[in-house]
Symmetry: C2
Subunit: 159 residues, 2 copies
DNA sequence: GGTGAAACTTCTAATAA
DNA sequence: TTATTAGAAGTTTCACC
Protein backbone atom coordinates (compact mmCIF):
# COMPACT_ATOMS: atom_id res chain seq x y z
CA UNK A 1 0.00 0.00 0.00
CA UNK A 2 1.66 3.17 -1.20
CA UNK A 3 2.05 5.97 1.28
CA UNK A 4 0.62 9.31 0.32
CA UNK A 5 2.55 12.37 1.31
CA UNK A 6 0.57 15.09 3.06
CA UNK A 7 2.07 18.50 3.54
CA UNK A 8 1.18 21.03 6.22
CA UNK A 9 -1.58 22.57 4.08
CA UNK A 10 -3.21 19.20 3.39
CA UNK A 11 -3.03 18.45 7.07
CA UNK A 12 -4.76 21.67 7.99
CA UNK A 13 -7.44 21.18 5.37
CA UNK A 14 -8.15 17.68 6.66
CA UNK A 15 -8.18 19.05 10.18
CA UNK A 16 -10.97 21.48 9.42
CA UNK A 17 -12.94 18.97 7.38
CA UNK A 18 -12.61 16.28 10.05
CA UNK A 19 -14.12 18.78 12.48
CA UNK A 20 -16.95 19.61 10.09
CA UNK A 21 -17.34 18.16 6.64
CA UNK A 22 -19.38 21.11 5.49
CA UNK A 23 -16.80 23.76 6.30
CA UNK A 24 -16.95 25.99 3.22
CA UNK A 25 -13.80 25.85 1.13
CA UNK A 26 -13.86 29.64 1.18
CA UNK A 27 -13.50 29.59 4.99
CA UNK A 28 -10.65 27.11 4.80
CA UNK A 29 -8.98 29.25 2.14
CA UNK A 30 -9.30 32.38 4.24
CA UNK A 31 -7.79 30.72 7.30
CA UNK A 32 -4.88 29.21 5.39
CA UNK A 33 -4.32 32.30 3.23
CA UNK A 34 -4.75 30.40 -0.01
CA UNK A 35 -7.50 30.47 -2.59
CA UNK A 36 -10.67 28.40 -2.52
CA UNK A 37 -9.65 26.92 -5.84
CA UNK A 38 -6.48 25.53 -4.27
CA UNK A 39 -8.46 23.98 -1.45
CA UNK A 40 -10.72 22.41 -4.01
CA UNK A 41 -7.84 20.96 -6.02
CA UNK A 42 -6.13 19.55 -2.93
CA UNK A 43 -9.28 17.95 -1.58
CA UNK A 44 -9.97 16.44 -4.97
CA UNK A 45 -6.47 14.99 -5.11
CA UNK A 46 -6.86 13.42 -1.70
CA UNK A 47 -10.18 11.98 -2.79
CA UNK A 48 -8.68 10.57 -5.97
CA UNK A 49 -5.79 9.09 -4.02
CA UNK A 50 -8.35 7.42 -1.76
CA UNK A 51 -7.03 9.13 1.37
CA UNK A 52 -10.45 10.67 1.81
CA UNK A 53 -12.81 7.74 1.57
CA UNK A 54 -15.96 9.67 2.26
CA UNK A 55 -17.80 11.49 4.96
CA UNK A 56 -20.30 10.56 7.60
CA UNK A 57 -22.55 12.06 10.22
CA UNK A 58 -21.75 11.83 13.89
CA UNK A 59 -24.97 10.98 15.70
CA UNK A 60 -25.69 11.16 19.40
CA UNK A 61 -27.05 7.67 19.95
CA UNK A 62 -27.69 8.38 23.61
CA UNK A 63 -30.27 10.94 22.58
CA UNK A 64 -31.95 8.21 20.57
CA UNK A 65 -32.08 6.04 23.69
CA UNK A 66 -29.04 3.87 22.97
CA UNK A 67 -26.60 4.63 25.77
CA UNK A 68 -25.15 1.21 26.30
CA UNK A 69 -21.78 0.22 24.83
CA UNK A 70 -20.04 -3.08 25.38
CA UNK A 71 -17.17 -5.03 23.91
CA UNK A 72 -17.68 -8.75 23.46
CA UNK A 73 -14.80 -11.18 23.03
CA UNK A 74 -15.72 -14.42 21.30
CA UNK A 75 -13.97 -17.77 21.72
CA UNK A 76 -14.58 -20.17 18.84
CA UNK A 77 -14.59 -23.94 19.10
CA UNK A 78 -12.40 -23.97 16.03
CA UNK A 79 -10.65 -21.25 14.01
CA UNK A 80 -12.00 -22.71 10.77
CA UNK A 81 -15.43 -21.47 11.75
CA UNK A 82 -14.35 -17.82 11.70
CA UNK A 83 -15.87 -16.93 8.35
CA UNK A 84 -19.15 -18.68 9.11
CA UNK A 85 -19.50 -17.02 12.49
CA UNK A 86 -18.70 -13.58 11.10
CA UNK A 87 -21.46 -13.99 8.53
CA UNK A 88 -23.88 -14.76 11.34
CA UNK A 89 -22.66 -11.81 13.38
CA UNK A 90 -23.21 -9.63 10.35
CA UNK A 91 -26.91 -10.45 10.61
CA UNK A 92 -27.20 -9.52 14.26
CA UNK A 93 -28.32 -5.94 14.73
CA UNK A 94 -26.54 -3.53 17.06
CA UNK A 95 -23.13 -5.09 16.47
CA UNK A 96 -21.27 -2.08 15.15
CA UNK A 97 -17.74 -3.40 14.71
CA UNK A 98 -16.13 -6.83 14.50
CA UNK A 99 -12.48 -7.80 14.22
CA UNK A 100 -10.70 -11.10 13.77
CA UNK A 101 -8.04 -10.98 16.47
CA UNK A 102 -4.99 -12.71 17.86
CA UNK A 103 -4.67 -13.11 21.60
CA UNK A 104 -7.36 -14.22 23.99
CA UNK A 105 -10.29 -14.05 21.61
CA UNK A 106 -10.83 -15.20 18.07
CA UNK A 107 -13.34 -12.52 17.26
CA UNK A 108 -13.84 -9.27 19.03
CA UNK A 109 -16.83 -7.02 18.58
CA UNK A 110 -18.50 -3.90 19.82
CA UNK A 111 -22.20 -3.54 20.45
CA UNK A 112 -24.45 -0.61 21.18
CA UNK A 113 -27.78 -1.18 22.93
CA UNK A 114 -30.54 0.56 24.84
CA UNK A 115 -29.76 -0.90 28.26
CA UNK A 116 -28.52 -4.01 29.99
CA UNK A 117 -31.60 -6.04 29.14
CA UNK A 118 -31.33 -5.13 25.51
CA UNK A 119 -27.61 -5.89 25.54
CA UNK A 120 -28.29 -9.29 27.09
CA UNK A 121 -30.58 -10.15 24.16
CA UNK A 122 -27.83 -9.24 21.69
CA UNK A 123 -25.14 -11.13 23.56
CA UNK A 124 -27.39 -14.20 23.74
CA UNK A 125 -27.72 -14.05 19.97
CA UNK A 126 -23.93 -14.04 19.71
CA UNK A 127 -23.65 -16.91 22.18
CA UNK A 128 -26.13 -18.96 20.21
CA UNK A 129 -24.17 -18.89 16.97
CA UNK A 130 -22.99 -22.35 15.99
CA UNK A 131 -19.26 -22.60 16.58
CA UNK A 132 -19.16 -20.03 19.37
CA UNK A 133 -17.70 -21.67 22.42
CA UNK A 134 -17.95 -18.83 24.90
CA UNK A 135 -18.16 -15.04 25.05
CA UNK A 136 -16.78 -12.52 27.48
CA UNK A 137 -18.35 -9.10 27.90
CA UNK A 138 -16.78 -5.85 28.96
CA UNK A 139 -19.27 -3.12 29.64
CA UNK A 140 -18.25 0.45 28.98
CA UNK A 141 -18.94 2.66 31.98
CA UNK A 142 -17.67 5.74 30.19
CA UNK A 143 -16.22 6.55 26.82
CA UNK A 144 -13.34 8.75 27.91
CA UNK A 145 -11.45 9.33 24.70
CA UNK A 146 -12.81 9.43 21.19
CA UNK A 147 -11.39 12.36 19.34
CA UNK A 148 -11.57 12.34 15.60
CA UNK A 149 -8.66 14.76 15.26
CA UNK A 150 -6.27 12.92 17.60
CA UNK A 151 -5.17 10.33 15.10
CA UNK A 152 -4.62 12.86 12.33
CA UNK A 153 -2.40 14.92 14.61
CA UNK A 154 -0.51 11.86 15.79
CA UNK A 155 0.16 10.82 12.23
CA UNK A 156 1.20 14.24 11.13
CA UNK A 157 3.66 14.68 13.95
CA UNK A 158 4.94 11.18 13.27
CA UNK A 159 5.54 11.45 9.52
CA UNK B 1 -31.95 11.70 28.40
CA UNK B 2 -35.07 12.37 26.38
CA UNK B 3 -35.65 10.19 23.38
CA UNK B 4 -36.14 11.93 20.10
CA UNK B 5 -38.71 10.51 17.73
CA UNK B 6 -37.56 9.93 14.19
CA UNK B 7 -40.06 9.15 11.49
CA UNK B 8 -39.44 7.28 8.26
CA UNK B 9 -38.51 10.48 6.41
CA UNK B 10 -35.94 11.47 9.05
CA UNK B 11 -34.52 7.99 8.94
CA UNK B 12 -34.09 8.12 5.19
CA UNK B 13 -32.52 11.55 5.32
CA UNK B 14 -30.02 10.35 7.94
CA UNK B 15 -29.37 7.28 5.86
CA UNK B 16 -28.28 9.31 2.87
CA UNK B 17 -26.27 11.75 4.93
CA UNK B 18 -24.53 8.97 6.86
CA UNK B 19 -23.46 7.58 3.50
CA UNK B 20 -22.24 10.98 2.32
CA UNK B 21 -22.50 14.15 4.33
CA UNK B 22 -22.43 16.28 1.22
CA UNK B 23 -25.40 14.66 -0.47
CA UNK B 24 -27.23 17.71 -1.84
CA UNK B 25 -30.54 18.36 -0.14
CA UNK B 26 -32.02 18.67 -3.62
CA UNK B 27 -31.03 15.05 -4.36
CA UNK B 28 -32.48 13.85 -1.07
CA UNK B 29 -35.65 15.81 -1.79
CA UNK B 30 -35.98 14.27 -5.24
CA UNK B 31 -35.54 10.74 -3.92
CA UNK B 32 -38.01 11.19 -1.07
CA UNK B 33 -40.50 13.18 -3.15
CA UNK B 34 -40.44 16.16 -0.80
CA UNK B 35 -39.04 19.65 -1.23
CA UNK B 36 -35.47 20.68 -0.52
CA UNK B 37 -36.84 23.15 2.00
CA UNK B 38 -38.38 20.31 4.00
CA UNK B 39 -35.11 18.41 4.03
CA UNK B 40 -33.40 21.52 5.25
CA UNK B 41 -35.91 22.06 8.07
CA UNK B 42 -35.75 18.45 9.22
CA UNK B 43 -31.95 18.36 9.24
CA UNK B 44 -31.91 21.61 11.18
CA UNK B 45 -34.31 20.18 13.76
CA UNK B 46 -32.19 17.11 14.22
CA UNK B 47 -29.15 19.33 14.63
CA UNK B 48 -30.90 21.49 17.19
CA UNK B 49 -32.10 18.43 19.09
CA UNK B 50 -28.49 17.26 19.16
CA UNK B 51 -29.25 14.01 17.33
CA UNK B 52 -26.86 15.12 14.64
CA UNK B 53 -23.73 16.10 16.54
CA UNK B 54 -21.67 16.93 13.50
CA UNK B 55 -19.95 15.40 10.55
CA UNK B 56 -16.55 13.98 9.90
CA UNK B 57 -14.36 12.66 7.13
CA UNK B 58 -13.66 8.98 6.74
CA UNK B 59 -9.98 8.60 5.96
CA UNK B 60 -8.16 5.55 4.71
CA UNK B 61 -5.40 5.33 7.27
CA UNK B 62 -3.88 2.32 5.56
CA UNK B 63 -3.12 4.50 2.58
CA UNK B 64 -1.27 6.82 4.95
CA UNK B 65 0.79 3.88 6.16
CA UNK B 66 -1.13 3.10 9.34
CA UNK B 67 -2.52 -0.40 8.83
CA UNK B 68 -2.15 -1.75 12.32
CA UNK B 69 -5.10 -1.89 14.72
CA UNK B 70 -5.01 -3.36 18.21
CA UNK B 71 -7.12 -3.36 21.33
CA UNK B 72 -5.33 -3.03 24.64
CA UNK B 73 -6.89 -4.00 27.94
CA UNK B 74 -5.39 -2.29 30.97
CA UNK B 75 -5.34 -3.63 34.53
CA UNK B 76 -4.83 -0.96 37.16
CA UNK B 77 -3.18 -1.46 40.52
CA UNK B 78 -6.10 0.41 42.02
CA UNK B 79 -9.38 1.72 40.63
CA UNK B 80 -8.78 5.09 42.27
CA UNK B 81 -6.06 5.72 39.70
CA UNK B 82 -8.50 5.59 36.79
CA UNK B 83 -8.75 9.32 36.24
CA UNK B 84 -5.02 9.87 36.50
CA UNK B 85 -4.21 7.07 34.08
CA UNK B 86 -6.79 8.26 31.57
CA UNK B 87 -5.20 11.69 31.58
CA UNK B 88 -1.87 10.10 30.78
CA UNK B 89 -3.41 7.97 28.04
CA UNK B 90 -4.88 11.10 26.57
CA UNK B 91 -1.34 12.33 25.98
CA UNK B 92 -0.22 9.20 24.19
CA UNK B 93 -0.59 9.51 20.42
CA UNK B 94 -2.25 6.85 18.31
CA UNK B 95 -4.69 5.85 21.05
CA UNK B 96 -7.95 6.50 19.26
CA UNK B 97 -10.53 5.34 21.80
CA UNK B 98 -10.54 4.62 25.53
CA UNK B 99 -13.33 3.29 27.74
CA UNK B 100 -13.61 2.71 31.45
CA UNK B 101 -14.95 -0.82 31.66
CA UNK B 102 -16.31 -3.48 33.97
CA UNK B 103 -15.10 -7.03 33.56
CA UNK B 104 -11.54 -8.18 33.07
CA UNK B 105 -9.99 -4.80 32.44
CA UNK B 106 -10.29 -1.43 34.13
CA UNK B 107 -9.59 0.53 31.00
CA UNK B 108 -9.90 -0.62 27.47
CA UNK B 109 -8.46 1.19 24.49
CA UNK B 110 -7.91 0.99 20.79
CA UNK B 111 -4.73 1.96 19.03
CA UNK B 112 -3.78 2.46 15.40
CA UNK B 113 -0.14 2.21 14.36
CA UNK B 114 2.15 1.74 11.39
CA UNK B 115 3.29 -1.78 12.17
CA UNK B 116 4.12 -4.13 15.03
CA UNK B 117 7.25 -2.23 16.01
CA UNK B 118 5.40 1.04 16.12
CA UNK B 119 2.59 -0.59 18.09
CA UNK B 120 5.10 -1.96 20.57
CA UNK B 121 6.34 1.57 21.26
CA UNK B 122 2.81 2.75 21.96
CA UNK B 123 1.97 -0.21 24.17
CA UNK B 124 5.19 0.32 26.14
CA UNK B 125 4.09 3.91 26.78
CA UNK B 126 0.81 2.56 28.13
CA UNK B 127 2.62 -0.01 30.27
CA UNK B 128 4.87 2.65 31.71
CA UNK B 129 2.05 4.79 33.09
CA UNK B 130 2.14 4.94 36.87
CA UNK B 131 -0.68 2.84 38.26
CA UNK B 132 -0.86 0.46 35.32
CA UNK B 133 -0.34 -3.04 36.60
CA UNK B 134 -0.43 -4.96 33.35
CA UNK B 135 -1.77 -4.74 29.80
CA UNK B 136 -3.11 -7.32 27.43
CA UNK B 137 -3.07 -6.78 23.69
CA UNK B 138 -5.38 -8.16 21.02
CA UNK B 139 -4.16 -7.54 17.51
CA UNK B 140 -6.73 -7.10 14.78
CA UNK B 141 -6.00 -9.37 11.83
CA UNK B 142 -8.97 -8.05 9.92
CA UNK B 143 -11.71 -5.53 10.47
CA UNK B 144 -14.66 -7.54 9.21
CA UNK B 145 -17.60 -5.38 10.10
CA UNK B 146 -17.71 -1.63 10.38
CA UNK B 147 -20.76 -0.32 8.62
CA UNK B 148 -21.89 3.17 9.45
CA UNK B 149 -25.44 2.48 8.35
CA UNK B 150 -25.91 -0.75 10.30
CA UNK B 151 -26.63 0.87 13.63
CA UNK B 152 -29.11 3.36 12.18
CA UNK B 153 -31.03 0.54 10.55
CA UNK B 154 -30.96 -1.55 13.71
CA UNK B 155 -32.30 1.33 15.73
CA UNK B 156 -34.98 2.21 13.25
CA UNK B 157 -36.29 -1.34 13.05
CA UNK B 158 -36.15 -1.52 16.83
CA UNK B 159 -38.03 1.66 17.67
C1' DG C 1 -46.35 20.30 9.23
C1' DG C 2 -45.10 21.15 3.76
C1' DT C 3 -44.23 23.83 -0.89
C1' DG C 4 -42.01 26.59 -4.45
C1' DA C 5 -39.45 30.18 -5.90
C1' DA C 6 -36.35 34.09 -5.00
C1' DA C 7 -32.06 35.58 -2.88
C1' DC C 8 -27.88 34.27 -1.34
C1' DT C 9 -23.79 31.32 -0.76
C1' DT C 10 -20.72 27.89 -2.30
C1' DC C 11 -18.56 24.96 -5.73
C1' DT C 12 -16.11 23.92 -9.84
C1' DA C 13 -13.58 24.16 -13.95
C1' DA C 14 -11.21 26.86 -17.27
C1' DT C 15 -7.95 30.23 -18.00
C1' DA C 16 -4.06 32.71 -16.80
C1' DA C 17 -0.03 33.63 -14.04
C1' DT D 1 1.28 25.01 -7.98
C1' DT D 2 -1.72 28.72 -7.15
C1' DA D 3 -5.07 32.70 -8.30
C1' DT D 4 -9.01 34.56 -10.60
C1' DT D 5 -13.28 34.50 -12.37
C1' DA D 6 -17.79 33.44 -14.07
C1' DG D 7 -21.38 30.17 -14.63
C1' DA D 8 -23.51 26.08 -12.33
C1' DA D 9 -25.21 24.13 -8.29
C1' DG D 10 -26.74 24.05 -3.57
C1' DT D 11 -28.77 26.20 0.54
C1' DT D 12 -31.83 29.01 3.02
C1' DT D 13 -35.65 31.92 3.73
C1' DC D 14 -40.30 33.20 3.44
C1' DA D 15 -44.95 34.00 1.90
C1' DC D 16 -48.54 30.87 1.26
C1' DC D 17 -50.88 26.29 1.59
Amino acid sequence: MAKFKLDEIDHQILDMLIENTRTPFTDIAKKLLISAGTVHVRVKKMEEAGIIEGSSLTLDYRKLGYSFIAYVGIYLQNTSQTKFVLERINNIPFVTVAHITTGKFNIFCKIRAKDTTHAKDIIFLLDDIEGVYRTETMISLEESINDKKRLMHSIFKDL
